[in-house]
Amino acid sequence: MDELEQLYQTTYTAVVRFLYRKVWDAERAEDLAQEVFVRALAHRPEKPRAWVFAVAANLARDEARAAVRRKRHLILLKGDPVALPTIEPAADTLVEHDERMAAVQEALSALTPRDREILLLWDAGLSYPEIAAQTGLALGAVGTTLARARRRLVDAHDRQHATKGSHAAHS
């Protein structure tokens, strides 16, 4: 089995997850992940694992820019801000799952882009040196950033819970 194929078997899911946390669309995340590996096959990078995540990050960034353009366009078309689609409650468990997920999503969006990026790279399984190489951060600063990002994520999440809880208590 060639090196890239092995990498594909072991990291495809992590790449999809990494992308999903940026584009918030499962199908799109899979498409992009496949694109990443196709490019890896075409380029044969020296350090494929780090390369794969670097390209994934780039693709997600392009995707986000395109989404902003599309949104702007939609706004222009409609003349008013785009309403977020309302979630149809299919089943209680599903709703609960969605709510929990939305809470984490919101907490994640409260981080600075850099903190978020480093946290997601760590969660995707990259090592400190790989994270440092990809983000341009000094190796010694990776721990500092992760410490801050973790604290902020948990704080933001818990704060949300607290306000929701108090809302529930009032109503």
């Binding site: 194929e5 594909y8 090592s127 500092t144 410490a147 948990v154």
Partner: protein, 328 residues
Amino acid sequence: MRHIPEEELHAYLDQGLSRSQCVEIESHLAACPSCQAERDSIAALRDRTTALLAKLAPPRGFPPAFELLRRRATIEVSARRRRTHIAAWAASLVAALGLGWTANYLLMPGRSESPLPIVSSPALSAPPTQVASSPTLRSRRPAPVRTRQASQRQSPTPSPDLSPAESLPPVVPAPTLELTSIDIPRTDPDLELEGMWRTLSWDGAQAEAGAQLPHIDGLPVVQVQLQAAERGKQPLMVVAQQLSSGEVIRTIEGPMSDVSHLLAGRTMTDPASQPGGSDSARSIRGPNHTDRTMAMQRGDRMLVITGALPSDSLLAMIRRLNAEMRSK
């Protein structure tokens, strides 16, 4: 005693420290209950983060077979090679089109008499590059140029005895061009230019056409053909030049009616349907070798570039040429 900073404990738990750093931290931890407590709380924070992020996972899909991606990659690599090849061609073209058809003209769409890109027709069959793909003809010593000598159509004036050296125009500044790299395409016997055509040397053609031969600077000229026009008018000219890949592109300039007639005639000529069409010609001309044409019109004259490239590549090339010239 210095306690372990928070970020170092994160790095320690994340296995982001060197062996010696780990030893140092472990020996401190063994003796410091406060740092032990800190380590435990950081470990809990780590676990919480991981658990929270785990909720942000897409529904598990099925990864496609790696073989499929491999196939896609193969296709994309070859497409990229093709693009690179075309880009190289465009770069050589940027040097300049000869003739009164300068890029200045091409690039001034505001001018009233300039209907811009006109023709983009597939299936224009220019003579195939048989020689380029037949190794036996890749002779290193200069062989006499073989031109289409359909005697009954040949000009009454005997065509000059051309050698490759003579057929190389003086405008080609060619440090990269060598005689041996120039293959003279045999013209496809199926494709006849109608009317009286003469194959000339570059110099002869220049004398006749008033130094206004349409061509792309930087590419070796393999054939020049002229068809006399009415007295006092510019003749219809076809200049064939060869790309490094062996493909031949043709630049045609002449009275509009003649050029369109020429193109129309060629469009109708399908080598495969012609009796006596040579097999080698057919085998070369796969579906990827359909000739495309870009044409521009000025007054009653027409300039055409045709070659075995996608029409959008030709268009891109011309745009680029225009942009380059404008920026000069």
